[in-house]
Amino acid sequence: MSRVSVADRVARLRDDFDRSFADPARVLDGEMVELLAVRAGGRPYAIRLDQCSGLHPDRPVTALPTTVRALIGVAGFAGTVVPVYDLAGLLAHPVPQRPRWLLLTTGEPPLALAFHELDRHLRVPVTDVIGGSADGDRKGCLRGMVRLPDGDRPIVDVTAARALVHQLAGHRPVPEETR
């Protein structure tokens, strides 16, 4: 019984392999989106990989006394001191647990976002990403959703998160508004 099934499987795999050469390339790279499936403050999110420049687990973060709640502290990356913001805090549902993962964002000045769990890396067709308008309740850091078999995930827009951080840190000429 088991011998038959193994033989069947080998034959099927061989057929699949051969056929893969005959089939035209179905999906071009440009039509795929790479995402990180993460969990911040217990809720699932996705982050576009092209908005990240590095991902680090268990990096020591030096706590900083500050009035900006989402600012956890600073961490060192190759000699550069980088501010670390709690993603759950930026999305307005902070939890007491320290986030484990630091994500270095693209853009200047240097900025790291911290989240609690990394679920997996995703490569999905662009059609699975549903662009949406900004979610007003969440300070506009979310842009669209990705449709996945285990449920839809809102996508964190790193650019919008950075803009929020700039505003919180008083980096742009915005009146002091730290909460």
């Binding site: 900083l64 006394p65 500050t66 600073v74 060192g76 001191v81 007491p96 000045p109």
Partner: protein, 691 residues
């Protein structure tokens, strides 16, 4: 650094730059104060340069150094000053040599290096060359830091190796135990072998771990020192400015003295370059537009010779550059009419006051000089300072008093700041305090902690200093891990008297380079800056001013206590060949309110001791040249110095050395390894001679 071996001029460039800097300064010294001593010194430099230039076949430099010597040789024994044309010739040769040396320093422009200008323009600005040197050395340092970083990174596998050896050691011990207990049949030989293996692995592991520990500590130290080297002493640009003053005075026919203060302050070359460029204009302006001709000065009851003072000082995280002249001040009338003519002032309105007019000077495009001379137009100079201020996020201020002089002040924030830090732990956080702000550290008993925390004050030296536990000032809102509670207080000098913070533990001192907090990390004012430790993790550096505010705020407007005034002790002379020790001791002593002079060798120490009255000598033992014992003996033998107490500070801890120190005449002996700041200060308070 790889091309270093193939470049025969590499070391010559460094030496020639050093010599030409010394020659440039020496010529200006000679100009102000003639005599056989400065002539001899210049001859020595020129001769060294000639020799070095011949070795690397730099004939142009060697010939000019020779010509330079020829001018000086007849004045070897002269007390009088050199003739004006001889001075001019020296300056011309100095500039020519300088431009050849600069050409050598620019390998990126080969055509220039190959064919240096035949007649270098005397006004040619030595500044770019100087900046190039700074840049070059910064690059060298960056390479050095990278190399150290690389080496540091190699420590990780060694660490892993240590644990592997330790694990092997444990298995060998287990194996030996099993062989001994379980198997009756095992041979004695096998058991002995296993035991030997365990023993060897054990001692190898210990040696391995010790070595790794030590290398790690040393690398940490080297890294911190190299980071500090990135910073350049301000004095390195003073010669250029002094020369600019001399040249301007020469071409205007004025007599001007140049005074500089704050040469030892260090800052990044990227700051010093632009600032000194702008101040070249400022000092020239001061000569051309400020200092009056001799007869005018005399008629006004001023000394015939004008004075231009350049002061640099550190104010917290800022550096202040100030150029003060005792000339005629800004020509406010001319400013007013120029401003009116350009439509910068509302016509028919109230006449502008002095401050408004000076503000116009800062806004630029206005010059008080009727003609822009070759040397300067005042407006251009002010524009240069303003631009630098914008570029470096600094501020400019101008003050002027008619007939008395003018002041131009530039305040810039320092990006990197080398300092010695006192590492403290409080409520699970490790932070660093600039050691130069620390007045004292005191151990506290639990009762004292309770009393201080309840009253918000700590009794220190007969005064009640405002007190705040540091953990409160650093509270970040997260849960604090178990901490031992306050065990010590750090007494800090504030602008409004001393105050104290309570810490769990003092964890030693370390050299560090503090940098500003990153843009997106706004922190409470108690945090001044951040440093990166050997593991690459940020460490917070506390701001004494911010802490003072926080402590006082906590006291809710309670009365402030000023630092108690004490009798005047005479200055202390520190003799030590280690720069680090000198600086550490200086900062400890200065924090305790003493004036400190430094000497890098026993010989220098004797020289200084003969030149000034000291209240105490603090000397190292092991130094090149005469050692600390000899220094103490010689000072004891000199009737003028025998009354000045001497303290030996050394890493030698043996009873024999202590005895020898006592025999030599030292009043106290402090061992560096068990260095206790309080104990040292206690000795000094007891011994120091007061006026």
């Amino acid at each position: 650094m790889a091309e270093g071996g193939r470049d025969p001029l590499r070391y010559f460039r460094i030496e020639a730059r050093e010599l030409i800097d010394q020659i440039s300064a020496g010529v200006l010294d000679l100009d102000q104060r003639a005599g056989p001593e400065p002539v001899a010194r210049l001859l020595r430099f020129a001769h060294t340069l000639k020799g070095a230039a011949r070795v690397v076949r730099q004939k142009d430099i060697a010939d000019r150094a020779h010509a330079f010597e020829e001018v000086l040789v007849p004045h070897r024994t002269d007390e009088g000053s050199l003739a004006a044309e001889e001075m001019r010739e020296l300056l011309r040769l100095n500039d020519e040599i300088a431009s050849y040396v600069s050409a050598l320093e620019k390998p990126a422009e080969p055509e220039k290096a190959a064919a240096p200008p035949d007649v270098p323009a005397p006004e040619s600005d030595p500044e770019p060359a100087e900046a190039a040197t700074h840049r070059a050395s910064t690059r060298d340092l960056d390479e050095l830091l990278d190399a150290i970083g690389e080496t540091n990174a190699r420590m990780a596998p060694l660490r892993t190796g240590c644990s592997t050896v330790e694990r092997l050691h444990r298995s060998a011990v287990n194996l030996a135990d099993q062989l001994r207990l379980d198997r009756a049949g095992t041979t004695t030989a096998a058991r002995a072998a296993a035991e030997r293996l365990a023993g060897e692995l054990g001692s190898a592991g210990r040696r391995f771990t010790d070595a790794v520990d030590q290398i790690e500590r040393e690398l940490d130290d080297v890294r911190a020192k190299a980071e500090g080297l990135r910073l350049v002493p301000v004095g390195s640009v003073f010669t250029t400015l002094r020369r600019a003053v001399r040249d301007a005075a020469d071409s205007e026919g004025r007599r001007v003295r140049f005074v500089s203060r704050g040469a030892g302050i260090r800052m990044g070359a990227h700051l010093l370059g632009p600032v000194s460029g702008a101040f070249l204009h400022v000092v020239r302006n001061a000569v051309v537009h400020g200092i009056e001709p001799e007869d005018v000065r005399l008629a006004a009851g001023k000394p015939a010779e004008g004075t231009i003072t350049l002061e640099v000082e550190r104010r917290g995280r800022h550096a202040v550059f100030r150029c003060v002249d005792d000339g005629r001040g800004f020509d406010l009338e001319a400013l007013r009419s120029t401003a009116l003519a350009r439509g910068l002032l509302p016509s028919g309105g109230r006449p502008p006051d002095t401050d408004e007019l000076l503000r116009l000077v800062l806004q630029g495009g206005i010059s008080t000089s009727p003609s822009v001379t070759e040397v300067s137009g005042r407006g251009i100079g002010m524009d240069a300072v303003r631009e630098v201020a914008v570029q470096l996020q600094g501020e400019v201020a101008v003050r002027s008093e008619p007939g008395r002089g003018a002041t131009v002040e530039l305040v810039i924030p320092l990006a990197l700041l080398a300092m010695t830090g006192l590492i403290v732990e409080a409520g699970g956080t490790v932070a660093t305090l600039p050691l130069d702000a620390v007045r004292a550290c005191v151990r506290l008993s639990p009762e004292e902690v309770t009393a201080a925390a309840a009253s918000g004050r700590l009794v220190h030296e007969d005064s009640a200093a405002p007190f705040l536990p540091l953990a409160e000032a650093l509270y970040t809102g997260s849960t604090v891990p178990d901490s031992p509670g306050i065990g010590a207080a750090v007494v800090i000098n504030g602008d409004n008297g001393v105050f104290a913070i309570g810490v769990d533990r003092l964890a030693g001192t370390s050299a560090l380079v503090a940098r500003p907090l990153p843009d997106l990390a706004p922190a409470a004012p108690v945090i001044g800056s951040v440093a990166v430790d050997a593991d690459g993790n940020p460490r917070l550096v506390l701001d004494p001013l911010g802490l003072a505010d926080e402590v006082l705020r906590n006291l809710r407007g309670g009365d402030r206590t000023a630092a108690p005034a004490v009798a005047e002790p005479l200055p202390i002379l520190v003799v030590d060949d280690s720069l680090t020790t000198r600086m550490l001791e200086r900062s400890i002593l200065e924090s305790a309110g003493y004036e400190v002079d430094l000497a890098a060798s026993g010989e220098e120490g004797l020289e200084r001791a003969a030149a000034r009255s000291y209240g105490l000598f603090l000397t190292d033992i092991d130094m090149p040249g005469i050692d600390g014992f000899t220094f103490v003996e010689r000072t004891r033998a000199d009737p003028k110095l025998a009354t000045v107490p001497a303290i030996l500070v050394s890493s030698r801890a043996s009873a024999a050395d202590r005895d020898r120190g006592r025999a030599a005449g030292a009043s106290a002996y402090v061992v560096k390894g068990e260095f206790d700041q309080e104990q040292l200060l206690e000795h000094i308070r007891r011994l120091v001679v007061r006026t």
